[in-house]
């Protein structure tokens, strides 16, 4: 399999004919992981709707209120929730008798319409390695997501070089070292406290001379309202383009699903500093519903690409909006 084909496959999750059966196994397993991870989300979502709607054929103010409650409780946010409910109300005005099931379908459609899925096909230049930069605020799961990504690439026989550009947080480099060992990735690092831009420069140089397929850059967590640190990010990005003109080819913003409305501001500010391409939404295996993803898709047009469902190498999934929304509302348990 040629390089770009493989790369594309592991980036988009699309299978080509020559993928082995072992891939199907992991596919199955990962579907289970996804289902298990989303189960909690679904139960609370569906639970609420059942309570409010079962046995009634009309949608009343009270029921609309209860839908509003369900949406808001999922961190979908006032603006986006109102948008969804407006649509629902329009429908009610047209067709006064709506059965519970119809409301589910309609809600699903409404939410799906707002959700962007990463559809961008990678327009590969001849530039190799393919450089991915991972950014986000503190503790959202950047380093872990990088470990999971490296594992995906490694599984697809792509060689990975990781750059330890978090030179600030205690043991950030050691943490990345463990992940790169787990995933057969090469780690480029400097001492704690050294210049992150210089680490990135080294990483790209080294990856080039080693003919690495993919480079993943880990950056230090930073709050989006910290101007100096956001500027640093812009600088890091710029330095990379000196080694490889189009690098980084992809900037992934990691967001924590437990985060509330502040995530929207995070997405805004990180986009401003680094032109974020897509989002990885982590910790969806917990009780958080991750509704911010809907608000961010709707308001900022940044697609969701990955979801994190745990702390091991396999707990990364491509975001699938149909699956995501269907699982939220599906009847089967």
């Amino acid at each position: 399999m040629n390089f770009f084909k493989k790369l594309k496959e592991s980036l988009t999750g699309k299978k080509t004919e020559d993928s082995g059966t072992s891939n199907q196994d992991t596919e199955k397993k990962s579907a289970e992981v996804l289902k298990k991870g989303l189960e909690k989300t679904k139960n609370s979502f569906f639970g609420n709707f059942s309570k409010s709607l079962v046995g009634k054929s009309k949608i009343s103010d009270q029921e609309l209120d209860s839908i509003e409650e369900t949406l808001l409780k999922s961190d979908i946010g006032i603006e986006t929730s109102l948008k969804i409910i407006d649509g629902l109300e329009n429908r009610v005005r047209k067709d006064k008798f709506i059965h519970t099931n119809e409301i589910y379908d309609f809600l699903k459609d409404e939410i799906k319409n707002l959700l962007l899925q990463n559809k961008k096909d990678y327009s590969f230049s001849d530039e190799k390695p393919y450089v991915i930069m991972v950014v986000g605020i503190n503790g959202v799961g950047k380093t872990t997501t990088i470990g999971k990504l490296a594992h995906q690439f490694n599984k697809n026989n792509l060689s990975v070089t990781i750059g330890a550009a978090d030179t600030f947080r205690a043991a950030a480099i050691d943490q990345l070292e463990v992940w790169s060992n787990r995933t057969n990735a090469k780690l480029i690092k400097q001492k704690m406290g050294s210049d992150p831009a210089s680490v990135c420069f080294d990483t790209l140089k080294s990856a080039k001379s080693n003919d690495s397929d993919v480079v993943i850059i880990d950056t230090a967590g930073r709050l989006h309202n910290n101007v100096n640190l956001m500027n640093e990010l812009t600088k890091i990005k710029k330095v990379m383009s000196k080694v490889s003109i189009n690098a980084p080819h992809e900037v992934i913003l990691v967001l924590d699903a437990t985060t509330g409305q502040n995530a929207i501001e995070q997405a805004k500010q990180f986009s401003k500093a680094t032109e974020v391409d897509c989002i990885a939404l982590t910790k969806l295996d917990g009780t958080a519903k991750g509704g911010i993803a809907i608000g961010i898709s709707d308001q900022l047009n940044i697609p969701i690409k990955y979801i994190g469902l745990g702390e091991t190498v396999n707990d990364l999934q491509l975001f699938d909006k149909d699956k995501f929304v269907d699982t939220l509302f599906s009847n089967e348990n």
Partner: protein
């Protein structure tokens, strides 16, 4: 988003303007707006509802004094109610006579390990304790190394067992060790866990049983959304924790989770995290948090942040110079550097009550200082310390040198002179005068 809430409140209050009393009718719409605003600040849906119900109860029938507007009265009722809900005073850590044992727990990435280090430093400095930091996260890659590095940074003793995968056992051994090592404080850092992971929740329960801590602290990210309810409830069910630590408040989140957690589990918030650094820990002040959630501008933290960042010595020197009328452009330049260290201008300005809404759509350029710096850099040392010698030809030269127009140079010099005058005036009253000014500003709203 940052100004969202205050804006909404202002809109809501408009309907109350010019009424003599607050009645059920004129308050209903307002309460709805407030509820929305609270939810936008990440307060839990139910908490927001019961909160506005309570505020409405207190507000109805209140006579509106002619001197204050109904909106202000309502703001006050709300703020008092919020502060009360969050506990009316800050609570300190329970220090035992012998060994104080603190267990730290929470979700993944919430800031437990960082807080453990910070707390060791805080209690070492403030209570003269001899801390032992214990690494009980046996799962996360390099979790042990992280705590070890932090323990060195804060100069605290450290305990770990790298080959032992049983945190219950490690914590027991650590207590034994602390006795021979003469520690009177142990802080146990545990792995992050999601609250529905039964196995992991059992584990933390077992650690608690084995240790019987003086305090169990639940560490939670201030940016947490609606999930705060579930997480706080689930952790509290297993741990019945004693207090809450709210981290990453140096961000621009409203922090509504603070209100949610408080009302759901009724446990005091004890500490807040305000930076990644080991010094970034503060005790919790309910009234400040109330202001923050309500978006009235956290004046006190603004003042404090300014104080923190301004080098004390430098400040004293500058004060002397002001007193002697020797405040020059050099000092001004230094002050600009200090202000820049404090963070984004928009952020800082946004903290000032009444200003927030006005700058929402205005783009405050953080490079605003650039041209000022350029102008000052084009001055000679003599001109910097003696601004009065800046005559026309000097101004012209500076304008050319700094790439600005003469009128821009004039404007800066004029502002500078006004500022030095004002600073001299403020010297007598000091901080209180500034606070008065800011308070007046708030009254006027």
């Amino acid at each position: 988003m940052f100004q969202n809430l205050s804006e909404k409140l202002e809109r809501a209050f408009k309907t109350l303007k010019g009424r003599a009393t607050i009645s059920d009718i004129n308050v209903a719409q307002t309460m709805k707006e407030i509820r929305k605003a609270l939810i936008s600040a990440d307060v839990d849906y139910k908490t927001a509802k019961s909160f506005t119900d309570k505020v409405r109860e207190k507000a109805i029938g209140q006579k509106v004094l002619t001197s204050i507007e109904p909106g202000q009265l309502l703001t006050k009722i709300m703020k008092d109610e919020l502060a009360e809900l969050m506990g009316s005073e800050s609570t300190d850590i329970q220090i035992e006579r012998g060994l104080t044992k603190i267990l730290v727990a929470g979700l993944q990435g919430s800031g437990k390990t960082t807080f453990s280090g910070k707390l060791a430093l805080y209690l070492k400095n403030n209570k003269k304790l001899k801390p032992l930091l214990v690494a009980c996260d046996v799962y996360r890659p390099a979790a042990i190394d992280q705590l070890e590095i932090l323990s060195k940074q804060v100069n605290a003793d450290f305990y770990c067992e790298r080959d032992n995968k049983d945190p219950v056992n490690i914590s027991k051994n650590a207590i034994k060790f602390s006795k021979t090592n003469n520690n009177n404080l142990i802080i146990i850092d545990t792995a992050g866990r999601i609250s529905i992971d039964q196995e992991m929740m059992n584990e933390i329960g077992e650690i608690k049983k084995a240790v019987s801590p003086s305090e169990t602290l639940f560490v939670v990210d201030a940016m947490t959304g609606q999930d705060a309810v579930n997480t706080a409830k689930n952790f509290n069910e297993v741990l019945d924790f004693d207090g809450v630590v709210l981290t990453k408040l140096d961000g621009d989140t409203r922090g509504g989770a603070a209100l949610t957690i408080r009302s759901v589990v009724n446990k005091p918030i004890k500490f807040i995290g305000t930076s990644e650094k080991m010094e970034g820990l503060d005790v919790f002040y309910p009234d400040r948090m109330a202001s923050r959630i309500l978006g009235m501008g956290d004046v006190i933290s603004l003042v404090e942040r300014a104080q923190q960042q301004f080098d004390e010595d430098e400040a004293r020197k500058i004060q002397k110079k002001i007193a002697k009328n020797k405040f020059g452009f050099d000092d001004f330049y230094k002050q600009i550097q200090q202000i820049k260290k404090m963070g984004s201008m928009k952020d800082l300005v946004g903290m000032i009550p009444g200003v927030g809404k006005n700058i929402k759509d205005m783009d405050i350029d953080d490079d605003a200082f650039k041209s000022i710096e350029a102008i000052i850099n084009s001055m000679t040392p003599k001109e910097r310390s003696n601004p009065e010698i800046l005559n026309g030809s000097r101004r012209k030269r500076i304008a050319v040198g700094s790439g600005n127009s003469v009128s821009e140079v004039n404007k800066l010099i004029k502002q500078f002179l006004q500022m030095s005058k004002m600073m001299k005036m403020m010297q007598g009253g000091g901080k209180n005068r500034v606070m008065d000014m800011l308070n007046n500003q708030m009254q006027r709203r």
